[in-house]
């Protein structure tokens, strides 16, 4: 059982890191631990548990801004926003369905560390597009801050973005300020029925290139659709291609009708209204339609090439299942467990079209052996290493979580 250090304030956090820095100790940075199996397997080491740095310290709905301690549970933040008809527009996925654990356990710090997003990434961006400021402790045991509480800000380097998606390897974040946005009045979904992957991506591209401000563009192949909790999707008996429209009531109805007209050539259609629409998008967001217990890849690729990438992989590896999001640009791909997680095949297919692949779920032994994150070109890898060495020269934080030896 590793030593767990649980600071209750920022000063204690700094002291803990300063101690580790001085004594050449390493620390596993943790919020609630909900995404502990995401990334490369860490050696056993003392845990810096930031879950006590919890609580919303500033929330001004009219200013569209919220500040919270890094250990604040996301469910608390979402409840507060919901009470004020607001939300995190980037629709952060809940990884419980994928990684195990209870829904809603993640912290805001963990969400930032992993730069989590959801289907609305295509129109609203990811966590990195909504972070306004951070405070944290670098690997030198020194406090630093970046950004502020306003959206328009180019004062100094955007360290907040650098921290976002760094998997806790550059700093222990203590406080996070986010942009929040109003929740639209209505969200409906147009379903195109029975399209194969290639046709579906064509339809999604057409919707993405329309003026209808769509906020979700996903394709769920037949076998996965049959697992949906939404009866219209489950009982469709075929693949469903989903296009979401959000906004004021009359606008949503108008835009959905326009999309029906413009996409008529793609065949049969169905509509999902508020509750059913929300249900389907939650399943897509949380990747709950894929078989659990398998190895899971997340592929971020040039959207128009999504189906081609999947075809190439499925031609070599048996038992591949997929769900497409982001108009084909995000592919969740599961495959039966194998020692190398098929990483060479998966990555070669991704490299052919541009993008990267992350191994989201696999046994600890596999994640020790297979590069979890996409290997980078040498100049980029060298630059990343120099940044890490600048901010965390002794390698205190999460050593080896992203790249071996870093």
């Amino acid at each position: 059982m590793p030593d767990i250090i649980k600071p209750t304030d920022v000063d204690q956090t700094r002291e803990a890191v300063a101690w580790a820095f001085a004594e050449n100790k390493t620390l596993e940075v943790r919020g609630s631990g909900s995404k502990i199996s995401l990334g490369r397997t860490l050696a056993e080491m003392p845990v810096l548990d930031l879950s006590a740095l919890s609580g919303v310290t500033l929330y001004e709905p009219g200013e569209l801004v919220l500040t919270a301690g890094a250990g604040t549970p996301l469910r608390d933040i979402q409840k507060l926003l919901s009470e004020n008809a607001q939300r995190l527009a980037f629709e952060p996925m809940d990884m419980a369905a994928v990684l195990g654990g209870d829904k809603g356990d993640g912290t805001v710090g963990g969400m930032i560390a992993c730069n989590i997003a959801g289907p609305r990434r295509i129109s609203a961006g990811a966590a990195r597009d909504h972070i306004l400021g951070v405070k944290g402790i670098s690997g030198r045991g020194e406090s630093f801050k970046s950004g502020g509480r306003v959206v328009k800000n180019v004062t100094g380097y955007d360290m907040s973005k650098l921290m976002t998606g760094s998997y806790g390897t550059l700093g222990a974040l203590t406080e996070i300020t986010l942009k929040v946005l109003p929740r639209p009045e209505k969200a409906w979904t147009l379903l195109l029925l029975g399209l194969d992957d290639t046709a579906a991506i064509k339809a999604l591209a057409q919707a993405a290139g329309s003026s209808h401000e769509v906020s979700g563009l996903a394709h769920v192949p037949q076998g996965r659709a049959a697992r949906s909790g939404v009866s219209y999707v489950r009982d469709a008996g075929c693949a469903v291609t989903a296009i979401r429209v959000e906004g004021p009531g009359p606008s949503v109805e108008h835009r959905l009708a326009s999309l029906r007209r413009e996409l008529a050539a793609f065949g049969d259609m169905e509509e999902l209204h508020s509750h059913n629409s929300a249900g389907l998008w939650q399943e897509i967001r949380d990747v709950s339609l894929l078989t659990q217990g398998t190895q899971l890849w997340r592929l971020s690729v040039t959207p128009s090439e999504g189906a081609r990438v999947v075809n190439e992989i499925a031609n070599v590896i048996a038992g591949v299942e997929t769900v497409y999001d982001w108009a084909g640009g995000l592919i969740w791909l599961s495959l039966p467990a194998q020692d190398d997680a098929g990483h060479e095949i998966v990555r070669a297919s991704v490299n052919n079209v541009g993008g990267h692949a992350t191994l989201i779920r696999a046994d600890a032994t596999v994640r020790r052996k297979v590069p979890v994150f996409h290997p980078q070109a040498k100049p980029v890898a060298d630059l990343s290493r120099r940044i890490k060495e600048g901010l965390d020269p002794h390698g205190v934080f999460n050593p080896g979580r992203m790249v071996d030896g870093l």
Binding site: T155, K161, S300
Partner: protein
């Protein structure tokens, strides 16, 4: 403005440098003639001028890489320059360095409608991207007011904004990928046509880094389909407070307009005199609210916003009924800077951001400062996102007036920080706000930013004298001060 002291040893090697540059860029791409160099002495912040040793205009990525490697070897500083429209002195040259102009990188390389993106060279103008795709009904959303001239490379370097960024995001939210060259000559690609880049968000840290980290040689941006319709409301208010209240009501109602701009009385008068947009002259504040989307949505929201405006005490509300009228509403706002400029020999444009609800108090304090300094101010405000552009009117021919103006400007920016805002919303720190950085950041904050700089440019050769009040040597920043055995902490809960 104090710039780093020139390195005499580098100045002494000017001829050698120029010869070597001419080997890399043959023909007319190396500019050394005094008269021709004067073009590069300054940028949009014309109060400052410095003549570089040379200006070089490469045409290929390989040339850029070789130039940077050469300069790194000689110890020659490099100031990258796009269209030179920076309002913060971001491309102000240094005496012991060269200007690296990207003007010849002016081609649109690929338009990819299937993936809603465009690949361009960095010297393409912001508006040039929209023009390249407008025939198909697409556009590039960030629209800084210099968009006819400013280059996309400079937009990335400064994280440019504009009227539309309230709804559609800043440059950072609309760039998918870049090709970047470091001082050591390394060429790399960050991002691409996919939505999120892998590993550390290097694209995120590069955007808004003001040319201090690397030279951008290619940019991939996402494009959007133009909205079906757009209509604007022109709303006059009896007080600045009531206008501010209206902005808050709109946002609180969950409406994010395509643009929401405010002007104060002085700015209204200047704009109206300049382009006769039909602005009401008997109001204290004017709000332009633009709503875009399908007609049914726009009509509905126009009515909603109009109702809110009247509830907040608006006396004068007009909704555009034609595209021509909408453009007229905007004409005054878009010409506000030159319009104000007409009233005075010189004007100085500030760029702080404040929390929206602090606007009334900030405008009151600015009025007090205006009286104190005896300098007039017109205020133009991106009301939706709190970005304030006070324009200070002055005459540089009056001895001491520029200095007084700069002091006044500093006071305004300190005020922005004091109420919870920041020094610069979209113009960048550059040389202009460099020495105010300590009002927002302490020594450790700035050192951590500089450690990132060291990872890209360990000798501090790229765009020196900008952003940081003191640029520490990387060796010094890299040093670790360890106090072994002093860091036991019995009070921290452990399990």
């Amino acid at each position: 403005m104090k710039m780093p002291a020139p390195d005499e040893a580098v100045l002494a090697r000017r001829d050698e440098l120029i010869t070597a540059l001419r080997v890399i860029v043959p023909g007319e791409g190396v500019i050394t003639d005094d008269l021709e160099l004067s073009v590069y002495e300054s940028d949009g912040l014309t109060a400052y001028r410095q003549r570089p040793m040379a200006a070089v205009l490469p045409e290929t990525v390989d040339q850029v890489s070789r130039i940077l490697r050469l300069c790194a070897q000689i110890g020659c500083k490099v100031v990258p320059r796009g269209a030179g429209t920076s309002l913060s002195g971001g491309s102000l040259p240094v005496v012991d360095g060269i200007v690296l102009g990207l003007g010849k990188f002016n081609k649109v390389l690929e338009i990819d409608y299937d993936n809603r993106c465009v690949v361009v060279q960095p010297g393409v103008t912001n508006l040039g991207i929209t023009n390249a795709v407008s025939a198909e009904g697409f556009y590039y959303a960030p629209d800084p007011s210099s968009q006819i001239a400013c280059s996309i490379g400079g937009n990335v370097a400064e994280n440019a904004g504009g009227v539309h960024c309230l709804k559609y995001g800043l440059t950072a939210n609309n760039v998918l990928g870049v090709e970047l060259v470091l001082m050591n000559g390394d060429v790399m690609r960050l991002g691409g046509k996919h939505l999120d880049s892998e590993g550390y968000d290097l694209l995120g840290i590069l955007t808004g880094s003001e040319g201090l980290l690397g030279v951008i040689t290619e940019v991939t941006v996402r494009i959007l389909k133009s909205p079906e319709t757009a209509r604007a409301l022109l709303i006059g208010f009896p007080t600045v407070e009531s206008a501010g209240e209206c902005v808050a009501s709109v946002i609180n109602a969950g409406i994010i307009p395509g643009g929401m701009e405010m002007m104060d009385k002085y700015a209204i008068e200047a704009a109206e005199a300049f382009c006769h947009a039909g602005y009401p002259l008997d109001v204290e504040a004017l709000l332009i609210v633009e709503l875009d989307g399908p007609e049914v949505e726009v009509d509905y929201l126009i009515a909603e916003v109009e109702r809110m405006a009247r509830e907040c005490g608006a006396e004068n509300v007009r909704a555009s009924t034609s595209e021509e009228e909408r453009m007229t509403f905007w004409a005054g706002r878009k010409a506000a800077f030159p319009a104000v400029g007409r009233l005075s020999p010189d004007y100085y444009c500030m760029d702080g951001t404040i929390p929206r609800n602090k606007l009334p108090i900030v405008l009151r304090r600015i009025a007090e400062l205006s009286e104190h300094y005896g300098l007039r101010v017109a205020n133009v405000f991106h009301a939706g996102d709190g970005n304030l552009h006070p324009l200070i009117l002055y005459d540089a021919n009056n001895p001491g007036e520029l200095e007084k103006t700069e002091e006044f400007g500093s006071e305004i920016l300190k005020l922005c920080v004091e109420v919870g805002g920041v020094l610069t919303g979209e113009h960048g720190v550059g040389v202009e706000k460099r020495d105010l950085m300590d009002t927002m950041f302490d020594e450790d904050d700035l050192k951590h930013q500089q450690r990132v700089k060291c990872a890209f440019d360990p000798d501090g050769a790229l765009n020196p004298g900008k952003v940081f009040p003191v640029l520490h040597r990387c060796a010094e920043l890299g040093r670790v001060h360890v106090h072994k055995g002093q860091h036991r902490f019995p009070d921290i809960p452990r399990f």
